[in-house]
């Protein structure tokens, strides 16, 4: 989230699209009801199904699954053609004025720089035109044909209401009604929040869907304002913490990236990440990359990380490719990955194409699962009749099940969607032999290190030199880990301007990331968490909910990264002169000599407005990117592509170019393309989702949750049900090209057929929560059906859009 949960109460309009907050985030949804009750906010929901969120809405519009870019592209077109733009904001706070390289083009849905054989783009033609000083050229009038605003205008002029309606199946009047609601927030004193979740992430073009939403918000001037923002609703408790701490295979902590195999040279690795400002006077915060990276290496390797050995750069793995989970299971299937430690997740249930996952797991030599529950994955080898029809005699994988405590059985912090690190205390001891995850990991590490010490090995240094000075080496405590993330001074830190002045004594906790240095004098496990456990103690444990400005800015409740800042880019809540856009919801404003207000300013505190320091300090431009010259694998502007499995035969946006049917830059493994189904055999659009009554595959182990939603079902509309002779409560068989499931049919008015350019599209809704372990009735894993392809940038699987057939069972 750019903003945070309680801030939603400040909004004038909530758009829920690509998510179903009332269903999947019921506690957070209370802030929507709060905005409605006390701020007269309206709620608009766009979804293939009339959801629980839609039930609470002021306006609902249906959409075909996977077509959100077409819809939002149409919104952009509407905003530009009806002059519903927050002009001052767009001019000063976005790259609308920037001029793009003349080599950039879009040809029938494919951007310049495409290599079809590799399914990859070379983004060099997407860059800015630079002047002699290396700064991007701009045109303040935004009339230059190659300035971002003009490119944007031209690009989305193709997204007409007629075409949007044909692609999305949204009736034109409904689409325009949504546009009307959204465009009302172009007024500087009105603001919209977008709440989205996996309904945008889990598509082969998921990152770009989210980007399109962000672009709409930028054109309306809704980012950085109270009640505004792009608000990703995180699903798993602490999935935000997972990404913050770099648990994705290509990340280090705090969103720093690992080197690629071509980056063997430390200087080049650092230079590529230490950005140069693209406009004069910009903060360009990533220029501090070396301070964060060196401090991380000091936290990990202590004295073994020296200037001479490039801070132990050679210990870091150099990636030949991304090792995301889809890649991992592909490699297992190829016999190239032989062992797997599965910590706190249940891939057999959670990843696409169950048959492929079973195949991969069956080829492993060993599988370790660490989980509080007996997961499906830990029993993938066991026959559960039709629900898991395998032959255990043919599976040789050795499975180790290590029981862990659950979140309520341990102390620690959880990062919520709004980036708050909230410390919590255990409510009970774990049962039986359960250990906490850090205890298990520490036991493994200490024993591995002993083996290396005894037997040596190919490359023992990264193991032998790992800093491991916990009080009890096999039980690092949550407090020790938290303090390590925050970081500390390794020597007395003196003021660069006055070397006699000691700012922090050796061993003291740093107050924030501004204290971090690139000379090895500081250690910090995760730079964005610096400030969470300072000399003043555990900031995450703070529980003062006083709200002096009355807009939900409780700066003394827990601690928020970065720097306890609650709303990112909050300087944009004021105009270029530093005056709040909305005097009733003041966030950060210029007080005459500094930035002040109800939040920690996202700006150098004394940078006066006339210095033109942009509010988007993490970008080298200082402004937000309507056009992304770098950073995305699949194009600088979002373009509508069909899901890899689509119920329609052509992409109406680029009907003449079959290469632009689905995302041309998405990675597809050999064999998986062949496993995609077509609309001929599988005519219905399918989408998977969660229900309020359950949490993923966990709560089917809980009696009360099993009682309130006991048995697997799928949802179909009345018309499709009638066609198939299915009544509510009948069993139906749902088939994709990868497998089939049998479930009870819920026949509903809430799913209606959509007219997509002459093709009548029915949706089949597939809740995911059942499996063959737990106390709820046994069911099929929904991912028996889903396709093995992910988003071109994140590789998040396309769980939300695929095709199926359905019949009465």
């Amino acid at each position: 989230m750019t903003n945070h949960w309680s801030d939603i109460k400040n909004t004038d309009l909530v758009l829920i699209m690509g998510g179903n907050a009332a269903e999947a985030h019921p506690c957070g949804f209370k802030w929507v009801t709060e905005a409605k009750a006390h701020n007269k906010a309206k709620l608009v929901v766009v979804d293939p199904r009339f959801t629980r969120s839609a039930a609470m809405s002021d306006y609902y519009a249906p959409i075909r699954t996977g077509t959100d870019i077409a819809f939002l592209g149409g919104v952009i077109n509407y905003l530009i053609s009806n002059d519903k733009i927050q002009h001052e904001y767009v001019k000063h706070y976005t790259n609308a004025t920037f001029i793009i390289n003349e080599k950039f083009e879009l040809n029938e849905g494919i951007f310049s720089g495409y290599d079809e054989t590799k399914r990859r783009y070379d983004p060099s033609s997407w860059g800015y035109e630079l002047d002699h000083d290396g700064y991007a050229k701009v045109d303040e009038t935004m009339q230059h044909p190659r300035c971002v605003y003009q490119i944007l205008k031209k690009h989305y002029s193709r997204y007409t209401p007629e075409l949007v309606s044909q692609i999305c199946g949204t009736p034109q009047d409904a689409f325009l009604k949504v546009c009307e609601h959204i465009s009302s927030t172009a007024a500087p004193n009105r603001v919209m929040t977008i709440m989205y979740a996996l309904g945008w992430t889990q598509h082969s073009q998921g990152s770009q869907m989210i980007r399109t939403g962000a672009m709409v918000q930028l054109l309306l001037g809704n980012i950085g304002l109270p009640g505004g923002g792009m608000n990703a609703l995180r699903g798993h408790s602490n999935i935000q913490g997972l990404t913050d701490l770099g648990l994705l295979s290509n990340l280090l902590t705090g969103y720093m990236t690992l080197p690629g195999e071509k980056e063997q040279d430390y200087e080049k690795y650092v230079a590529a990440r230490t950005l140069k400002p693209l406009r004069p006077n910009q903060v360009n915060y990533w220029q501090n990359f070396p301070k964060f990276q060196v401090s991380l290496m000091k936290a990990w390797y202590g004295k073994a990380a020296t200037k001479e050995n490039n801070w132990a750069f050679e210990y870091l793995p150099k990636l030949d490719k991304q090792y995301d989970v889809l890649q991992a299971f592909e490699l297992m299937g190829q016999g190239k990955m032989n062992g797997y430690i599965c910590q706190g997740f249940n891939p057999l249930a959670s990843f696409p194409n169950k048959a492929k996952i079973i195949h991969g797991l069956s080829k492993l030599k060993f599988l370790v699962t660490m989980d509080p529950l007996a997961t499906e994955t830990s029993e993938f080898w066991k026959n559960f009749g039709p629900y898991n029809d395998v032959d255990p005699a043919k599976i040789q994988t050795e499975v180790f099940r290590l029981p862990t405590t659950c979140f309520a059985e341990e102390d620690g912090s959880i990062v919520n969607s709004g980036r708050w690190l909230q410390w919590h205390w255990k409510g009970a001891e774990g049962p039986g032999e359960a250990l906490t995850d850090p205890e298990i990991m520490a036991e493994l590490f200490v024993r591995l290190r002993a083996l290396y010490a005894k037997d040596g090995g190919a490359f023992p240094d990264p193991i032998m030199n790992l800093e491991w000075s916990y009080r009890i080496p096999t039980e690092p405590s949550p407090e020790e880990l938290a303090k390590e993330y925050n970081g500390r001074a390794l020597v007395d830190l003196t003021d660069p301007k006055d070397p006699t002045k000691v700012l922090l004594k050796a061993g003291e906790q740093v107050p924030g990331f501004a204290m971090l240095r690139d000379d090895g004098s500081t250690a910090c496990g995760c730079w964005i968490f610096a400030g969470c456990w300072t000399q003043a103690g555990n900031q995450m444990a703070r529980r003062d909910n006083s709200d002096p400005y009355g807009i939900g800015q409780t700066l003394n409740w827990a601690w928020s990264w970065p720097a306890n800042r609650r709303v990112l880019y909050n300087r944009a809540s004021s105009d270029a002169a530093g005056k709040p856009w909305n005097p009733h919801h003041k966030l950060v404003f210029w007080t005459g000599d500094k930035w002040g207000g109800s939040d920690v300013p996202d700006m150098p505190p004394t940078a006066a407005p006339d210095q033109n320091v942009g509010p988007f300090i993490m970008n080298a431009e200082g402004v937000a990117r309507l056009f992304a010259p770098t950073g995305l694998a699949d194009g600088p502007l979002p373009e509508h592509y069909e899901p890899f499995e689509s119920p329609v035969p052509v992409n109406l946006m680029n009907p003449k170019n079959p290469k632009a049917f689905s995302n041309p830059a998405a990675r597809v493994f050999k064999g998986d393309m062949e496993a995609f189904g077509t609309s001929k055999d599988f005519p219905y659009a399918a989408t998977t989702y969660r229900l309020t009554e359950h949490f993923h595959y966990w709560t089917k182990h809980v009696d009360v949750c099993a009682i309130i939603q006991p048995q697997q079902f799928v949802e179909i509309g009345e018309e499709l049900a009638k066609e198939k002779g299915v009544k509510a409560g009948d069993k139906v068989k749902v088939r994709s090209n990868r497998g089939e499931i049998i479930a009870v049919a819920v026949v509903t008015k809430r799913i209606k057929p959509l007219d997509c350019g002459g093709v009548k599209v029915h949706h089949v809704g597939i809740p995911i929560h059942w499996g063959f372990k737990g106390v709820a009735r046994m069911g099929y894993l929904a991912n028996t059906l889903t396709p093995f392809v992910g988003d071109a940038n994140t590789q998040t699987p396309e769980f939300k859009s695929f095709v199926v057939n359905i019949e009465k069972a």
Binding site: F29, I707, Q709, K727, V744, K749, R750
Partner: protein, 298 residues
């Protein structure tokens, strides 16, 4: 629930003993704002956990409602109705939390022949005292909302207590405490009516011209009230009675037959007779009206 020392009993079934009246106790009410309810069923779970009741893990019968009906172990269930609002040309998913309404004039209590099996506290809560319950099922017949259920395990009647044990010590009912959206609120009946009126103003501004409070006079008003988007048509909310009142049979029993009620022998015989009819019929017919209704509105 047995008598609670901090709650005065105002009425006691089949008893003429006068009630205590020294303490001043506020009439309470739960207000369920249907327009804010997302049907998450957290209230069902809270109810199960606070009251230590569990139904069996059932089946899906083709709807979101689960368990599909009130039982002796499920004192509250969510009722989902898909309603095509043809006037406004929109679909509405109406989700109503069903359970005991705690009538000011409780039909169950009136019908109950067993002394002290049903009580009404001076704060308005109607409670079943299972140790006094003879399982005759009169309360089932006496209830205009089809709420009480007779347990097959101990043959006693059960229903929502409005968490009288929590309220007695100054806590809100468990469902209220757990509701994530603030759709269920609890307080004095006066305050709840006022809060309901505010909500109605908001709903009218959002185009629900007939929004209103459900506090039906036919049962003397209730201590569980609803804010409805369509208060002119309560029946679309999964058969919420339009104008509930106590069945004439019960009124007759309490009117003309009351003097005879002191004749214990006669009462027992009659009780046995009604028990046979009512409990038998209840088992067979309990689901039928709901299914019929579903066909009509779904």
């Amino acid at each position: 629930m047995a008598s609670l020392q901090s709650l005065d009993i105002k009425q006691r079934s089949a008893t003429t003993t006068s009630s205590p009246s020294v303490r001043r106790q506020t009439e309470v009410s739960k207000l369920i704002d249907v327009s804010k309810c997302i049907g998450c069923k957290a209230c069902q779970v809270a109810c199960m956990e606070w009251n230590d009741i569990r139904d069996e893990v059932g089946v899906n019968v083709g709807v979101y409602d689960n368990p599909p009906n009130l039982t002796e172990n499920s004192w509250t269930v969510m009722r989902f109705t898909e309603y095509e609002n043809t006037e406004a040309n929109r679909l509405e998913w109406l989700i109503r939390k069903d359970g005991c309404m705690h009538c000011a004039d409780p039909g169950c209590l009136k019908a109950c022949p067993s002394p002290g099996a049903i009580v009404q506290y001076s704060n308005g809560i109607v409670d079943f005292v299972q140790e006094n319950c003879i399982g005759c099922g009169y309360c089932v017949a006496g209830c205009p909302f089809d709420v009480p259920r007779i347990s097959r395990k101990d043959n006693k009647a059960y229903k929502c207590t409005l968490c009288s044990d929590r309220v007695a010590v100054g806590l809100e009912p468990a469902c209220v405490k757990t509701c994530p959206t603030g759709a269920i609120t609890f307080g004095s009946k006066e305050d709840m009516i006022e809060h309901g009126q505010e909500r109605i103003v908001d709903l009218k501004e959002r185009g629900f011209q007939n929004a209103g409070l459900y506090d039906p006079p036919g049962v003397g008003g209730t201590h569980v009230m609803y804010v409805l988007q369509h208060a002119d048509r309560p029946e679309i909310y999964h058969g919420l009675p339009n104008d509930p009142s106590i069945s004439p049979t019960v009124s007759l029993w309490k009117g003309a037959f009351k003097p005879l009620a002191l004749l214990a022998m006669g009462m027992t015989a009659l009780g046995g007779f009604f028990h046979y009819i009512k409990v038998g019929r209840y088992d067979v017919d309990a689901h039928a009206p709901d299914e019929e209704h579903e066909e009509e509105v779904r």
